[in-house]
């Protein structure tokens, strides 16, 4: 096999292993902060969850850079090249000294399978996103646009209020819901939705959903659901700067009751009573009825990640040799 392809396979195998390591490490970090995180201020919590979701990928990238560092440095400063000290059959994780020994067919097959599944899942997800964006685009075009209020009104009996779209999000609200809200509640709902538009929550949510696949399924699902609640609560807090907190809480309950009544027994939109669903509305309303949250600093979390990154880069040479040894065991 072509040594360049063999080298690419070794880097890919290392990347996959580092992603797995990142998923294990992230599960540990999530386990540590899981009980404290729900009490954090929503905006800080939203940032922290986004950061935690990216952790396996960040870990894999940091480790890949670290194990590639000796080779990268040798490209610029030939005197630092240490590959000549290794024997000929050595499994080089290097850009200039390519591996000689062939990679095991099972490894090649597994990598191809993994890549294939990844590409398939990404394509299906992209198709779902494209379909939803198409429907949202048509709805926005045929609805009654009210640019002065930054929303589009759609004619339907369903009590819906959505912010939809990735790069140019729009607020879609049904005329029936608009009519059923008290004027203060209407202002609260619109302030909440405008906050989603400003914050581009749908875009962040899409990125986080894509990154969550690199976690263990239960950890990824928890991060996505917590991100959604944090985004809603962050928008509730922004709405509470326009209207008072009790009005925002009342607006949530008015819409929740309207949705419950409207969807009651109307398949396929029948009510789905689940524990988390109950908690999502409860958490939002209870938080609004409590004292405003105190700002939470992400300094400790950012510092811990920074220290971990420095530790990885400082030990680049050792990590490079450990990775080469492990790859020589697994790949050949």
């Amino acid at each position: 096999m072509n040594p360049v392809v063999q080298s690419a396979q070794l880097f890919l195998l290392a990347g996959v292993a580092f992603l797995g390591l990142g998923a294990v490490g992230s599960a540990g970090v999530v386990g540590l902060v899981r009980s404290q995180l729900p009490s954090w201020e929503p905006r800080a919590r939203h940032h922290a969850i986004a950061l935690l979701t990216a952790l396996p990928v960040l870990t894999a990238l940091a480790l890949l850079v670290a194990v590639s560092l000796p080779s990268l440095l040798a490209l610029g400063i030939p005197g630092l090249d240490h590959c000549m000290a290794h024997e000929d059959a050595h499994t080089h994780l290097c850009f200039t000294h390519l591996p000689v020994a062939p990679v095991h067919a099972g490894v090649t097959l597994s990598l191809a399978l993994l890549l294939g599944v990844g590409v398939l899942r990404a394509s299906l997800a992209a198709r779902r996103v494209a379909r939803a964006l198409r429907v949202v685009g048509v709805l926005a075009r045929v609805g009654e646009e009210q640019p002065e209020h930054g929303l589009t009104i759609v004619d339907t009996a369903l009590p819906l209020c959505l912010t939809a779209g990735l790069l140019r999000p729009r607020v879609l609200i049904s005329r029936s819901l608009l009519a059923s809200l008290h004027s203060d509640e209407r202002a609260a709902v619109l302030a909440h939705e405008r906050a989603h538009v400003r914050r581009r929550d749908a875009l962040t949510g899409s990125i986080v959903r894509a990154l969550s696949v690199f976690h263990f399924p239960s950890v990824g699902a928890w991060l996505v659901s917590e991100l959604d609640v944090a985004a809603e609560q962050a928008c509730d807090e922004e709405a509470a700067t326009v209207m008072d907190r009790v009005t925002v809480a009342a607006a949530i309950l008015t819409v929740e009751r309207a949705v419950s009544t409207s969807f009651m027994g109307a398949q396929p939109f029948g009510p789905v009573a689940v524990a988390f669903g109950a908690r999502a509305v409860e958490r939002r309303v209870e938080a609004l009825l409590a004292e405003p949250p105190r700002p939470t600093s992400l300094w400790a979390l950012s510092s811990a990640l920074g220290v971990a990154l420095v530790a990885v880069l400082v030990n680049a040479t050792e990590l490079h040799h450990v990775a080469e040894f492990l790859l020589s065991v697994v790949a050949h």
Binding site: V135, D155, T156, S206, D228, V246, A250, G277, V281
Partner: protein, 118 residues
């Protein structure tokens, strides 16, 4: 579709007169768009003399309901939540007891604050 919902019906020339000149769209584009919408069964048409007279097959509300149904269906199955943030989650209901308890909490807070609204 918006133009035909407003006017009720019209030939390509009439739609072009109302929309095309203002938006810089040619008569050919209007004709082919109407034909495509007819083929997608969103419009129906009758031939009067040499022209096709188009009208919408469904009302604006029926059209909105269909699209929203599609979007809500996708949301319910977790297929659109990546691009949509709903004011309240459509897949999870608080349940009547929880809702009543939360409403009582809001009413109590309003009573304490001296707000007379229900």
């Amino acid at each position: 579709m918006n133009q035909l919902w407003t006017s009720g019906e019209g030939a390509a020339k009439e739609v072009h007169a109302a929309l095309g000149k203002r938006r810089g769209i040619t008569l050919n584009t209007i004709q082919s768009t109407l034909k495509r919408l007819f083929e997608k069964r969103l419009l129906e048409r009758d031939k009067v003399s040499h022209a096709h007279i188009y009208r919408a097959r469904m009302s604006r509300e029926e059209f909105h309901r269909g699209l929203l149904g599609e979007l809500v269906g996708d949301l319910m199955h977790g297929q659109a939540d990546a691009v949509v943030a709903a004011f309240v989650d459509l897949t999870e209901r608080a349940g009547p007891e929880h809702l009543a308890r939360l409403e009582a909490m809001v009413a109590e807070r309003r009573r304490v604050l001296g707000d007379s609204r229900e």
